[in-house]
């Protein structure tokens, strides 16, 4: 039994799923704002890439740090949070056949978030908060900066509350029978982690705001880092959870895949919830004041059980695609299912490239750099942005792009222009981010610092600098950055054009993106159905091999440095 109010629901002309009109309104609102913040972040990104590329060195020092602050906040916090709240609203309403719990709460959440974000961007632009997104004490920003962040956090928390309340009324009103769909389960996991994360944010930001107002002593910098990263890193796990849910969603939408074993997928999400809260530790691996055993236990998220979860999803997601494709008749060899996947569908290519970049680059580097001792070789070097541009950009952001290729026709009910450009956009972005990430990683391996205006150290009293090989990697980073920017801007332009000027598809199904053709007739498909996924097995074994090699290569590199205890 659905609990929709009269005239507050429509049936999707493409999927037949119910769409709550209130939820739809807020999904649109959050979506549009998210893309605006993505644009601000993108303009900042190209300026940064062109500044860190020594041959160009575009901005002056003051603007480099200001733009860096802007980039981190608009991308990592605003773009991601606005999109995620939209995803939560979608999952709880459409997929549970429920209405949104409260329009008023949704407005309150939205207004707090948007006002907070605008406050933050304004003070940063005015040059009153050149503290980077981490605002490590005792660096001090204008009080409006902290207040803005607090507003964004409380607003998001309010949106998350609306999500849980919706899940609750859906259950109460029996709008569905049995267990929630997997994507909703993933969204719930993300939301649970988000609550813990945002509470950390409140714990750290409120005293810091008091201090900036002159009402309290400065928070201890060690304590600040510990709690801030309870916000800063756990929010990345929210992103991982949301991204994996989107992978499952897009796998279904683009190839009709269905998860092989729901128990496995769900257990993996539970592992995230249980062990993610130790995440702040791996930012403190070379910090004073926290001991080795604390670092080792926490940084491993209790023996890497959260990593295990990601490795499980890394298998189950492509395996589900493989099984679906094999059922379509792509049974030849190990990989004909993959080569015949709908690569011209930007929803599919974005999703699959995201999976590959997240796994092969982001995941492997992240676990390795977050190893207690290996972190000595990586802390605050460019290896760190090299890693997270492969997770939260090549992974999460790219997956969300794939999602938006469906959200615009299905929720905004508008068609994209220039569909052939959309077809190649994920490839451009993925290639750019991959190049940039590799350039950053290698430059960082030579010790090039992150968050640093001038790697030539011009004007420093005691000279320092890097060799020409390192400059080459920085050049590759710069070129990758430019390419990624082109891909990102293309995406934004396509989306804006579609949302504001696109042709409406109300009353009919969306123009489909490329879908895989079936080689078999209905009857055969049933017969040929088999659940094996040997191609995926080969892929993950290659992943594991790469992981092992990279991991031990780093231990080997560690033996070369001075002894230290």
């Amino acid at each position: 039994m659905s609990n929709h109010l009269e005239n507050q629901v429509r049936t999707c002309d493409t999927t037949g799923l119910p769409v709550c009109l209130n939820a739809q309104k807020f999904i649109r609102l959050h979506g549009v704002c998210a893309v605006v913040f993505l644009l601000i972040g993108a303009v900042a990104a190209i300026l940064l890439a062109l500044t860190r590329w020594p041959a160009v060195h575009l901005l002056n020092a003051e603007w480099y740090y200001r733009v860096l602050t802007l980039h981190g906040l608009n991308m990592l916090i605003f773009w991601i949070l606005f999109i995620e709240v939209a995803i939560l609203y979608f999952a709880a309403t459409t997929l549970l056949n429920s209405r949104l719990f409260s329009k008023g709460v949704a407005w309150a959440a939205f207004l707090m978030m948007i006002v907070g974000a605008i406050m933050v961007d304004t003070v940063v632009f005015q040059g009153k908060a050149d503290v980077l997104m981490t605002s490590y004490t005792p660096l001090k920003a204008d009080p409006m900066f902290y207040l803005g962040i607090i507003l964004v956090a409380v607003g998001t928390l309010t949106g998350v509350f609306n999500f849980f309340a919706t899940v609750y009324i859906a259950k109460r009103d029996k709008t569905y029978e049995g267990s929630v769909p997997l994507v909703v389960f993933g969204a719930i996991a993300a939301a649970v982690i988000a609550v813990v994360t945002l509470l950390h944010g409140a714990v750290v930001m409120i005293p810091t705001w008091f201090w900036s107002m002159g009402w309290a002593e400065a928070p201890d910098p060690g304590w600040y880092r510990l709690v801030w990263w309870g916000l800063g890193h756990q929010s990345q796990q929210v992103n991982v959870c949301a991204m994996v849910s989107v992978w499952y969603l897009l796998a279904t939408l683009t190839t009709g895949a269905k998860p092989l074993n729901q128990a496995v997928c769900r257990t993996a999400f539970v592992l995230y919830i249980l062990f993610i809260n130790l995440a702040s530790a791996h930012h403190l691996l070379v910090d004073p004041g926290v001991g080795a055993s604390w670092k080792i236990w926490n940084t491993s998220y209790a023996m890497y059980l959260a990593v295990l979860a990601s490795m499980i999803h890394g298998f189950t997601v492509p395996a589900s695609v493989e099984v679906a494709q094999r059922a379509r008749g792509y049974v030849r060899g190990l990989f004909s299912w993959l080569t015949n996947a709908p690569w011209k569908n930007p929803g599919f290519s974005a999703f699959f490239l995201s999976l590959i970049i997240f796994g092969f680059i982001g995941g492997i580097t992240g676990v390795t750099l977050g190893t207690q001792q290996i972190n000595i070789l990586a802390h605050n070097t460019l290896r760190i942005p090299g890693h997270f541009h492969a997770t939260v950009v090549g992974g999460t952001t790219l997956a969300f792009m794939g999602l938006i290729y469906y959200v615009v026709p299905l929720i905004f009910q508008k068609e994209f222009y220039a569909r052939s450009v959309a077809t190649i956009q994920p490839y451009i972005f993925a290639a750019g981010i991959t190049l940039m990430s590799i350039g950053m990683s290698f430059a960082g391996s030579a010790g090039v610092p992150r968050r640093h205006w001038d790697v030539e150290f011009a004007g420093a009293n005691l000279a320092a600098g890097f060799d020409s090989g390192t400059h080459l990697w920085l050049g590759i980073m710069g070129m990758g950055g430019v390419l990624a920017f082109v891909g990102l801007l293309t995406f934004i332009l396509l989306t804006v054009a579609a949302v504001f000027f696109g042709k409406s598809n109300k009353g009919r199904a969306m123009t489909p993106w490329a879908t895989p053709k079936s080689l078999v007739t209905e009857g055969d498909a049933e017969a040929a159905h088999d659940e094996r996924s040997p191609g995926t097995m080969v892929l993950v074994i290659v992943l594991l091999a790469a992981f092992v090699v990279y991991y031990f290569a780093n231990w080997l590199a560690l033996t070369d440095v001075w002894h230290v205890r």
Partner: protein, 174 residues
């Protein structure tokens, strides 16, 4: 499908390839976990986080004392200090320099105390590429043993204001 209510009997044990992969992954996770405690006891490079509370002014006084008693010269106005092998060495980070320059002996160990007078800083030793976080109010003690001779740069890799890129220092190993 991932967007639909699962069948009633969805709760079942993994089978086939899935099961193999979970087992492999679990083994790999445990290997990675074990590596850290093993290295802690057997390895030569560890970050133990040894630290003591210290007022910035007090730390400054210790640095100045080491400069007065152990100075062996200066470069560009920065004193060069030669601490006793096996003993304490002091390095102060402030906006925007590291001082003093330290002169160490290869294969000798030192208790290197690093702290900050003002903001957070990043101790980054080049081209070796070793990095530690430095906080004001914390005397971060690194028991280090240089294993190579030569001149090494110390730079700052935590943002500490507009002159962050000017913050350099030096360690000489003979």
């Amino acid at each position: 499908m991932s967007i639909h209510i699962p069948e009633k009997d969805w709760f079942k044990a993994p089978t086939g390839g899935e099961r193999v992969w979970i087992a492999l992954s679990l083994v790999w996770c445990l290997i990675m976990f074990i590596m850290m405690p093993v290295w802690h006891f057997k390895g030569k490079q560890n970050s133990t986080g040894e630290a003591y509370r210290v007022e910035p002014a007090q730390f400054m006084a210790r640095v100045q004392q080491s400069i007065q008693t152990q100075s062996v010269g200066e470069e560009n106005g920065v004193p060069i200090v030669q601490p006793p092998p096996g003993g304490d060495a002091y390095l102060l980070g402030q906006m925007w320099r590291w001082q003093p320059i330290l002169k160490l002996k290869k294969d000798q160990s030192y208790r290197l105390h690093v702290s900050s007078l003002d903001l957070q800083h990043g101790f980054s030793l080049l081209p070796v590429n070793m990095n530690f976080h430095i906080l004001p109010g914390y005397d971060h003690v690194l028991t280090i043993t240089p294993t190579q001779t030569g001149e090494y740069q110390v730079i700052c890799n935590e943002f500490c204001g507009i002159g962050h890129h000017l913050m350099t220092g030096k360690i000489i190993v003979e």
